[in-house]
């Protein structure tokens, strides 16, 4: 569902609208004022709150909260999770987009719908399904215990739940992008004698690299920030199975507000950087699309 946010033409300014088709100046000002008020209240105020709370006890306390061993362990686990989940889902996105946009086959629409499925599933349910599958009372639980394999309340469960919630991101960015580019370039390369992997690497990849990066950036932001799904499978073992969002929750529930917001400011930074990169990529992609 989040893919709806990715309108590469957003922010493009409309040509000047003739005077008789716009509102009187006063109404325009009121509408703009109301819009700014809403954005300030809904979006900007929480950002300011995170920063002001994070530094409420000064720089020292801020840095201490970030350098604490549990915080560092949480950061490591968050990075590890993203490093596994993002490339795998990107590989999947590439394969799915290739099959769907370069070929005709029956059941294509069903496949596209199924790829979007995780967006419709509550994060809590995304975690629950893996507990039901791999947990102690789960379907494979007894077998896993016999072989001393830990998935739930351990890193593999966290990675799996993250892969589930970030599953559609790359695919759903690439599919419309590659659809728009058609198959002519690749077919020309094949007719000139290029083969499989080479066609992809030399012809397709240069065309789609920004779209691919765009999907990966969004996928990564969600992977590092996921809370609900990871919370269900993690078991909340300090220093072991806490990701950054879970670490924030624990600090907050222990009334260590300044520390909780200090760690939260890291994730906020990630969100802001993601938005900036996203808007840079959008202008690149729309430029390319129109010049083509």
């Amino acid at each position: 569902m989040a893919g709806i946010a990715t309108n590469p033409r957003a922010g493009e300014s409309h040509a000047d609208i003739p005077k008789h088709l716009t509102e009187p100046r006063v109404i325009r000002w009121i509408l703009i004022g109301a819009a700014l008020l809403f954005v300030g209240l809904i979006v900007v105020l929480p950002l300011i709150t995170v920063l002001s709370q994070a530094f409420s006890k000064g720089w020292e306390a801020y840095l201490t909260a970030l350098k604490e061993p549990d915080a560092l362990a949480a950061l490591r686990l968050t990075l590890l999770t993203a490093v596994i989940a993002v490339p795998l889902n990107s590989l999947f996105g590439l394969a799915a987009a290739w099959a769907i946009t370069k070929f005709q086959f029956r059941g294509k629409n069903v496949l596209v719908t199924l790829i979007d499925l995780p967006f419709a599933v509550s994060p809590v349910i995304s975690g629950l399904i893996y507990v039901l599958l791999f947990g102690a009372q789960g379907l494979l639980g007894p077998w896993l215990q016999e072989h001393n394999i830990h998935i739930i309340f351990a890193t593999p469960g966290i990675v799996l739940a993250t892969m589930f919630v970030t599953f559609p991101f790359v695919a759903r960015e690439l599919i419309p992008f590659m659809e728009a580019q058609g198959v002519e370039d690749e077919e020309a390369a094949v007719s000139l004698g290029a083969r499989g992997w080479r066609v992809f690497r030399k012809v397709t990849l240069p065309n789609i690299k920004w779209g691919l990066l765009y999907g990966m950036i969004l996928c990564n932001a969600r992977a590092m920030g996921e809370f609900g799904a990871v919370s269900v499978v993690s078991g909340h073992i300090r220093g072991e199975t806490n990701t950054l969002p879970l670490h924030i929750e624990i600090l907050y529930n222990e009334y260590q507000f300044a520390a909780a917001f200090a760690v939260a400011s890291l994730l906020m930074l990630l969100a802001v950087v993601t938005l900036i990169v996203k808007s840079v990529l959008e202008s690149r992609m729309s430029g390319k699309r129109y010049s083509a």
Partner: protein, 278 residues
């Protein structure tokens, strides 16, 4: 997925990529979801029905549906306003405002949750303004609605924005020539064109709200029967090792989401047909 027309395929890699796609999709998504249905099916029909209709569970559906509905309605109005202002007007800082709209998608829900709770708690920046009036925002359904307004903000803006951009000026022009006033031409000419995208954005925000957990769990207060949303109740069941009960409630929640998605598909197909018939 086999099909005819293989000889038309000039490009390589069909079997490999489709095979990998279907395999990966099955392992990560389809099989785990099937297991959910399987586990909830371990209950007899009567047990299942009792589990998903106890007063506490019913109260959670009601709360989740009502707060999501009100938040989606608020987002409908705010989203239309924002899309309108961003497409039609010029003002300083417009590009930044446009980028900020996506923040709720990029900001981890736990961060949003603790920030909103801090703002709207009785001693918070906004909460303390309403405290003397006897209005409690955090730890009440109102607080949940505010968190869901935050989470759902981008949906309506991003569905309406492109439609508004592509709207032909000709039609408005004609309306003006026919003597329609500005407000009238908005209502009679522009608004009908926006209805499908408004509905889609509304339904997306609504569906997202029903499943949302991270941003809500801090601000809701989590009182059974009063401020306990359905996703939280699933976690509570799980923590009590009532796996089958958790699965049964999850199935109900999933069904609600799927119905909403079907609705969105229906709206989109209806609006496509309308466009092509013109």
């Amino acid at each position: 997925m086999a099909s005819k027309g293989n000889k038309d395929r000039v490009l390589p890699g069909f079997r490999l990529t489709l095979g990998f796609t279907v395999l990966y999709l099955s392992l990560i998504v389809l099989i785990p979801i099937a297991v959910l249905a399987l586990r909830s099916g371990e209950l007899s029909a009567a047990q299942w029905w009792n589990t998903v209709t106890t007063p506490r569970v019913m109260a959670s559906y009601k709360l989740s549906l009502m707060t999501s509905l009100f938040a989606a309605l608020a987002n409908l109005l705010i989203g239309l306003l924002l899309a309108w202002v961003l497409v039609r007007y010029r003002f300083p800082g417009k590009k930044m405002i446009d980028g900020l709209i996506d923040l709720p998608f990029a900001l981890p829900t736990a961060v949003a949750g603790i920030a909103l709770t801090t703002i709207y708690a009785p001693n918070g920046w906004i909460g303390s303004l309403f405290q003397p009036l006897g209005l409690k925002i955090a730890y009440s359904p109102l607080g949940i609605t505010i968190a869901l307004i935050f989470i759902g903000l981008p949906f309506v803006v991003r569905t309406v924005q492109p439609v508004l951009q592509d709207l032909e000026a000709d039609m408005e022009e004609a309306a003006v020539l026919l003597g329609a006033y500005r407000w009238r031409s908005f209502r009679k000419v522009i608004l009908p064109e926006l209805v499908p995208s408004l509905l889609t954005g509304f339904a997306l925000a609504f569906a997202r709200g029903i499943g949302e957990y991270g941003s809500v769990v801090f601000i809701s207060g989590n009182m059974p029967m009063k401020t306990e949303i359905t996703p939280l109740l699933i976690i509570t069941k799980l923590e009590q090792y009532q796996y089958r009960e958790a699965a049964a409630i999850a199935v109900v929640l999933l069904l609600i989401s799927f119905v909403l998605l079907l609705l969105i598909n229906f709206v989109q197909r209806w609006s496509n047909r309308r466009l092509h018939s013109v």
